[in-house]
């Protein structure tokens, strides 16, 4: 075997070091979490777009970058570097997002998009996000029924792009399974926000937040535990705030130590939960490359249970952990947790996704799994959610959840407590039940409803056409026609997207155009007479003939693309 092969094998053998909060992608060679040396990153988009897609994927991608960029607790700044022609993915000094990446990579079967990350010594030096131009799942810019929302996917991939790995919370943007048919995951949960902020802290983030580092081992003898996550709930509202994975015990010779950092000051209840589905350690391969892992029961932590089992399954009986600003509390709790039996919740309403419910509304829930004891208890953390008509069999629980109109919005945990093998234990779906404020939901469902009715809504992203922070009126057409949403501009956009970009020759024309128009645009912008003349010529010579052609050739093509 070659030296490089041996190096890789050694790299794969070496496990991770201490796992910091929320999970970061690991450089298995250095056993360090991989991150960028700076949160200031310039990204570029490539020109080509999926031929069959209706809508503007570039605006969707830009909106996803803008969502992360708006995070004030993280010192990250995304600069829009414009669009380039080179679709190839790989190390070329450019952080790229492309919708046409077949130039040089072969997507594995089932892949819709992937993020390639180059790092040296734990530092990310470049990353690219590549959407499969022939995806196995239909995509849209609206989260239309039966489609995956491009903006939601981009938001998740940008997390990887910056070095975040997955979250075990169903509600998180960085949860390994994305939604189909809605846009709920266009927003960042607290867990996502904290993850990015811990990795790239804004000034004062560490001073204004705190944390706790609980320890876990399994059984009476304290067999090391690993591959389970610790979850922090708001003590009074039961909202899921953040989670962190326990690390690799065998490598380090210490207990599983998840670091729950970046928590806003306040009181929390903490519990440990096995990664036993829907998420398992397969979803954290850079953290747990091919290693076995532990399956503790779900238990709330108790500092009083020193090297012992707290025995606490009900959050109402769990002690509060007070997090103070600027303080990471260590050595506060070291519990021994029993290995779980077959008790496990595996699906919610036939899926592995969270359920979203409006304040003041109710919904039916069906949980499937194993070893539910009929005398057990199902609950949703926090106040304001009541369960009724609950029926329990060993493999299925059905109930109706009613959310009070004043219930705090945010993700909750669904918890079943029952007795198995003479041990009172519980199983959790962390972040599996999300209470939505009507205003928040109205935005997303409106879009979904429009899409579902057959029409695609125009992108409603904050970073609109030609957007990004570096947008300028550099294009002749923009100067002459002014309004980017005018019919004339729409016609030109369509011409560019549907006629120029699909061919190499057209691509060259566009590239040449962009390379030479700025001086001309500035000249035109300085004279009202020139603008009027230019507008007349443009409309007569280009727009009107194009409108005639387009109306007969492709009447349904979307016109709201990005110039």
């Amino acid at each position: 075997m070659s030296k490089t092969g041996i190096a890789l094998l050694l790299g794969l053998l070496a496990g991770p070091g201490t796992v910091s909060a929320y999970t970061f992608i690991y450089d298995n060679g250095t056993r360090n979490p991989a991150g960028r040396t700076t949160g200031a990153v310039t990204f570029t988009l490539t020109f080509r777009r999926p031929a069959a897609l209706i809508g503007d994927p570039f605006a969707a991608a830009r909106s996803a970058f803008a969502t992360w960029d708006a995070l004030t607790t993280a010192n990250i700044t995304f600069t829009d570097g414009g669009q380039v022609a080179d679709d190839s993915v790989g190390r070329d000094g450019v952080n790229k997002l492309t919708f046409n990446s077949t130039t040089n990579i072969n997507f594995p079967q089932g892949a819709v998009a992937l993020t390639t990350i180059f790092f040296t010594g734990g530092n990310i030096i470049e990353a690219d996000i590549a959407f499969n131009p022939n995806p196995p799942q239909s995509l849209s810019v609206t989260g239309a029924s039966g489609t995956a929302d491009i903006e939601s996917i981009a938001l998740h991939e940008i997390g990887h792009f910056m070095g975040l790995d997955h979250s075990g919370l169903l509600s998180a943007c960085m949860y390994p399974f994305g939604n189909i048919g809605n846009t709920f995951k266009r927003t960042l949960t607290l867990d996502d926000q904290i993850a990015m902020s811990v990795r790239y802290p804004a000034v004062n983030f560490s001073a204004t937040t705190g944390g706790v580092v609980p320890e876990l081992s399994l059984g009476d003898s304290g067999i090391p535990g690993r591959g389970a996550q610790a979850v922090a709930l708001g003590a009074t509202d039961g909202i899921v705030v953040a989670s962190a994975l326990g690390d690799d015990e065998i490598q380090d010779g210490v207990d599983a130590i998840p670091r729950l950092e970046g928590l806003p000051p306040g009181s929390y209840k903490l519990y440990f939960e096995a990664m036993d589905g829907p998420v398992d350690t397969n979803s954290f391969d850079t953290n747990f490359p091919g290693k076995p892992f532990s399956l503790p029961v779900t238990r709330f932590f108790d500092p009083a249970a020193i090297l012992a089992d707290s025995g606490i399954n009900d959050p109402a009986q769990a002690p509060n952990f007070v997090v103070q600003a600027g303080v990471i509390s260590t050595n506060v709790v070291d519990n021994h947790v029993p290995t779980r039996s077959t008790l496990n919740i595996t699906t919610l309403n036939g899926s592995v996704l969270p359920v979203y419910v409006l304040q003041g509304a109710s919904t039916n829930l069906t949980l499937t799994g194993a070893s539910f004891s009929t005398s057990g208890t199902l609950l949703i953390t926090g106040s304001g959610v009541t369960l009724s008509n609950t029926t329990i069999t060993t493999t299925q629980i059905t109930t109706t959840a009613t959310v009070a109109s004043g219930a705090t919005a945010g993700p909750r945990t669904i918890l079943f407590i029952g007795q198995v093998n003479n041990i009172q234990q519980s199983s959790a779906l962390s972040g599996g039940f999300v209470v939505q404020a009507p205003a928040a939901l109205a935005t997303t469902t409106t879009v979904a409803a429009q899409s579902g009715s057959g029409g695609e809504a125009a992108p409603t992203t904050s970073s609109s056409d030609g957007g990004g922070k570096n947008q300028s009126n550099c294009c002749v057409a923009t100067v002459l026609l002014g309004d980017r949403t005018s019919p004339g501009m729409m016609t030109l956009y369509a011409f560019r997207n549907d006629w120029l970009r699909p061919s190499e020759a057209g691509f060259s024309v566009e590239k040449t155009y962009y390379g030479h128009v700025s001086p001309m645009a500035r000249k035109l912008a300085s004279s009202q007479a020139l603008k009027a003349l230019g507008r007349h010529i443009l409309l007569q010579a280009a727009v009107q003939p194009l409108q005639t052609v387009q109306s007969s050739a492709s009447p349904s093509q979307d016109l709201a693309a990005n110039f």
Binding site: L12, G29, R91, A111, E157, D280, G360, A361, N364
Partner: protein
């Protein structure tokens, strides 16, 4: 208000299939993996060889497996797959969601062809199942919680009957796991 609630329930209660976004993937249940894969094998990783491409823009890794059993298809006693990512010297390229392999680690692999005609793991990490050894008995186990639950849910077996096949914690014996795959494949036959 009633209409509003009904609309909300309609919008929110719809069961939608998930998208796995390890990178962004479609979600594979074991049944879908079995049916969509061209080759299913049990093998042991015997070597990994990472290299740059010609332009030094991408790192890919060739991973070779010594095959002990085929459950579906046949590619010979040794199988080599190539996937994105790997480490060459100080440089590493990672693709989130791409499976990593331990040398000598035994796995069940679900393989499919990519657009180049080569084989890759279907659904990235979703198509790789670790084979573990029971610390007490030495019996080979595959962690597959959904199978244990499926046995309970779909066959109506009692818990004790299911647990005779499934080790607590959601593991199956390797033989039991392969038998389950065969069962899915037989359902496919006309």
């Amino acid at each position: 208000m009633r209409i509003f609630c009904a609309l909300s329930l309609a919008l929110l209660g719809v069961v939608t299939p998930p998208l796995a976004v390890a990178s962004s993937l479609i979600y594979y249940s074991l049944e879908k993996l079995a049916k969509d894969s061209e080759v299913i094998l049990v093998g042991r990783c015997t070597g990994c060889q990472a290299s740059w491409n010609e332009g030094r823009t991408l790192i890919t890794t060739e991973i070779t497996f010594q095959v002990s059993r085929y459950v579906k298809g046949f590619l010979g006693p040794q199988v080599t797959i190539r996937q994105l990512g790997g480490r060459v010297g100080n440089d590493a390229m990672s693709v989130s969601g791409m499976p990593e392999f331990q040398p000598s680690g035994e796995v069940v692999l679900f393989l499919g062809r990519d657009q180049s005609g080569g084989y890759q793991v279907v659904g990235m990490t979703q198509g790789r199942y670790q084979v573990l050894s029971d610390p007490d008995t030495g019996e080979k186990l595959v962690r597959a919680p959904e199978i244990a639950e499926e046995e309970l849910v779909h066959t109506g077996k009692t818990r004790s009957a299911s647990e005779s096949a499934a080790v607590p914690g959601g593991h199956l014996t390797l033989d039991g796991f392969c038998a389950r795959i065969q069962k899915y494949l037989e359902q496919e036959k006309p």
